[in-house]
Subunit: 457 residues, 2 copies
């Protein structure tokens, strides 16, 4: 990359790290109403950071958590406009007792910063802010017109973002979108994501008797809601690991052979992956490799279970109710609305008499697949190769960024997903971390990306 | 009943109620270690109450919660010795928010006292203490030799009682045992219990990955412990409601036709029972009436479920582990040790690869069936008929009192189960209550029982 920008990053490494740590200290947990004030504080903090760098910024209310918008459009009429998207909200940190250092006190160990939100997504969002700062501090100008759009509801399904984009489609008009909210294939291997799974997230509630009953006095004659829930969940897969909800695969479009071949060519060690999870063995749908299961196949998972007595010792209760959080990861062209209807029909069909069962759709997002080409894609290949010293690989991703499809559809702009996380970084789990080397290289690569993309026309 | 005892109960009704309320205020939750001091305090309180009445009493340590033993053996050599058993420990009170008045602050509504332990078993234990007091205050003597044995571990499986009885079989030698820890068939219908179900209580733990994982990044390739648990639990019944653990019914001895005929003759309204539970419909094993399912058939129930994220909103976690509390109610001649072996073999057989599953036996108790005869049984029929104004019925009971079989086996004495609870009394659930009318009539009936039994030889 150009020497002037590199010198800036060399000179400011400690400061840009400290600023990120201030951002990470704000517990902006969007799913928890007791953190609403913290979430708003994170938005205000980010607005201030954008203004300090030299962008015009504002915090815009939504029916939920606010959106922070930063803009600088002085690159010139012939220059492209790039929209940088990220999110400042984070997952809940529970179970807190499993964190080795406090979730909201950034702590460096082994070259990584441990904190909730470090890699998902504050660190990856903020590295763009600092890349913009490098340009503005060193040269006083940006090589592209820039819109920074950061939301506070990504971890709860981006429920207000689509409407915001729709309502502001002229203000948000751009030539391309870049998002850093994903992981590299492996340490040292820069990566561009070609696909994301979508999401349909449900809460299943089973209500039996009006109150908890004595399992001796009533057991055997009253349907047990926890057992009913288990039997309902057990109908959701067949013996080969396929999801057994009728119609579930109707809209699945197979991945092109070329993409599957490229995936099979990646240096992936399934045993290493297994060891990293700590699971005694891997599992999943028969007939697919691990990477294919993660990147190209839909799932149905239990994310949580709760019923009856869960404390120390024994309590002989027949619980009044049982609850499961169940989410399906979706692949093109599955539609979360249709999956919602299929799930609800399935649950209604298999629910036993004696209990009342509801499946409430909490949120959903469409799956996505990229066109692998265009000026921003080409610029990313150049920038990543320069900073990381090797060509990027094209990968898939099992997680969801529900708004990617919305950006393409509403703004008509291609989306580039270039992330700087690493495998095993514990996003959504205790001890989330981000590599500080990747934080640094990510800033440099994105600063270079703006240059190359700005020079492309 | 005799006029002198009746006058005592008339004159002391308020006091004996207040004393019970003091007993109920002690949160002697044996399952929770944070209540160990309270449990010990309840033992000391009971010892004091026995001494005040005129028994020699002591509190005897065990490896768990102590046993309170009261004795008075001055009725004369020709008189029988009666052992009165009860328990001073109570179930956990959670979920606290579902109580209409505090669990450990006895509150009278509609002629009932609401408190954890009111009917199970402090109220039913203490009415014997007050019946003994009536005899000693009015006449200065007892018509029978009496041993009062109260334990503090009934709600956690009476883990130390059997060894205590074995070690003290000479001191505890008696002609019969009476236990009041059960319910009458209906209000106004005095009842003698002829059978109890036993118990085998398990905790099933499923461990998958070492820590919680992101369900997007790992879902589909790592076996989900919560889904694995659901599939394991779903194997425990067949479509007819029978327990599907191989060998489970091998030792079930059918109830005699005469007993089943008597049960079918009881005035039982299944729709009323359903309405009382609040369940939309009843369920259970096909081919049996509700009372037969409750009294004569074994079960396998889920008492609790816990896995992953159970809070507000959505968290896309693939949980590291999942837990179920599972208990089987047993009928003669099922043996909890054999059921433990069958459960563990079954779980090992159905557990999928990719997770580690354990079924830990937390506690067990043998089922029991009475011989319906003998001097104490006959005395009970007389005393109950006199006080309640109608002949008692003989019932079964779906719950467990694991030590009943131990008393018969070790002491060689028949056990009489005569209880004063009522249907719907919420034992083991929020808003547990006991009828104050039954508390009063229970005292009178037991005082009369001692008289009749003492005159029987």
């Amino acid at each position: 990359m150009s020497r002037d920008l590199a010198a800036f990053f060399d000179a400011n490494a400690a400061r840009v790290r400290d600023e990120l740590f201030d951002f990470l200290r704000i517990p902006s947990v969007s799913a928890r109403s007791e953190h609403d004030a913290d979430t708003r504080r994170a938005a205000a903090w980010l607005q201030g950071a954008l203004e300090t760098v030299g962008l015009r910024a504002e915090t815009i209310d939504t029916p939920g958590h606010p959106i922070v918008l930063g803009e600088r459009r002085e690159a010139g009429a012939g220059k492209p406009t790039l929209l940088i998207y990220g999110h400042y909200d984070v997952q809940p940190a529970e179970p807190l007792e499993l964190w080795d250092s406090p979730a909201f006190e950034p702590t460096i160990r082994d070259g990584n910063v441990y904190a909730r939100g470090s890699v998902d997504d504050k660190g990856q969002l903020f590295l763009h802010v600092k890349a913009l700062e490098a340009h503005l501090k060193v040269r006083g100008t940006l090589p592209v017109n820039v819109i920074v759009l950061a939301e506070g509801e990504e971890e709860v399904g981006s429920v207000n973002l689509e409407a915001f984009i729709e309502a502001n489609r002229e203000r948000l008009a751009c030539d391309a979108v870049v998002i850093s909210d994903s992981a590299m294939f492996a340490k040292g291997i820069p990566s561009i994501l070609s696909s994301l799974r979508g999401m349909a997230y449900f809460q299943i509630d089973v209500q039996g008797p009006a109150g908890d009953l004595h399992s001796g006095s009533y057991g055997g004659a009253v349907v047990n809601p926890a057992m009913a829930l288990a039997r309902i969940l057990a109908t959701m897969h067949d013996e080969t690991g396929k999801v057994a909800i009728p119609g579930f695969y109707d809209d699945v479009r197979p991945f092109p052979d070329a993409v599957r071949a490229q995936m099979r060519g990646l240096p992936f060690d399934e045993e290493h992956f297994r060891a990293e999870t700590g699971a005694p063995a891997l599992g999943g749908e028969t007939g697919y490799t691990v990477l294919e299961r993660l990147w190209t196949r839909p799932t149905c998972e239990v994310n949580g279970l709760l019923s009856g007595y869960t404390g120390e010792g024994a309590k002989t209760v027949l619980p009044a109710k049982a609850m499961a959080k169940v989410s399906c990861r979706l692949v093109p062209d599955q539609d979360p609305k249709r999956i919602e209807a299929l799930m609800q029909a399935h649950v209604a069909r298999v629910a036993p008499a004696g209990v009342t069962v509801t499946a409430t759709h909490l949120h959903g997002g469409r799956p996505w697949r990229a066109d692998l080409g265009g000026p921003l894609f080409d610029a990313a290949k150049v920038a990543l190769a320069e900073v990381f010293g090797r060509e990027p690989v094209v990968t898939g991703e099992g997680g969801s960024i529900p708004v990617v499809g919305d950006f393409e559809r509403v703004l008509g702009a291609p989306v580039l997903l270039v992330g700087f996380g690493l495998p095993g970084e514990n996003a959504h789990a205790p001890n989330e971390w981000m590599s500080l080397e990747n934080y640094d290289k990510g800033m440099r690569a994105m600063a270079r990306l703006y240059d190359v993309y700005g020079g492309s026309r």
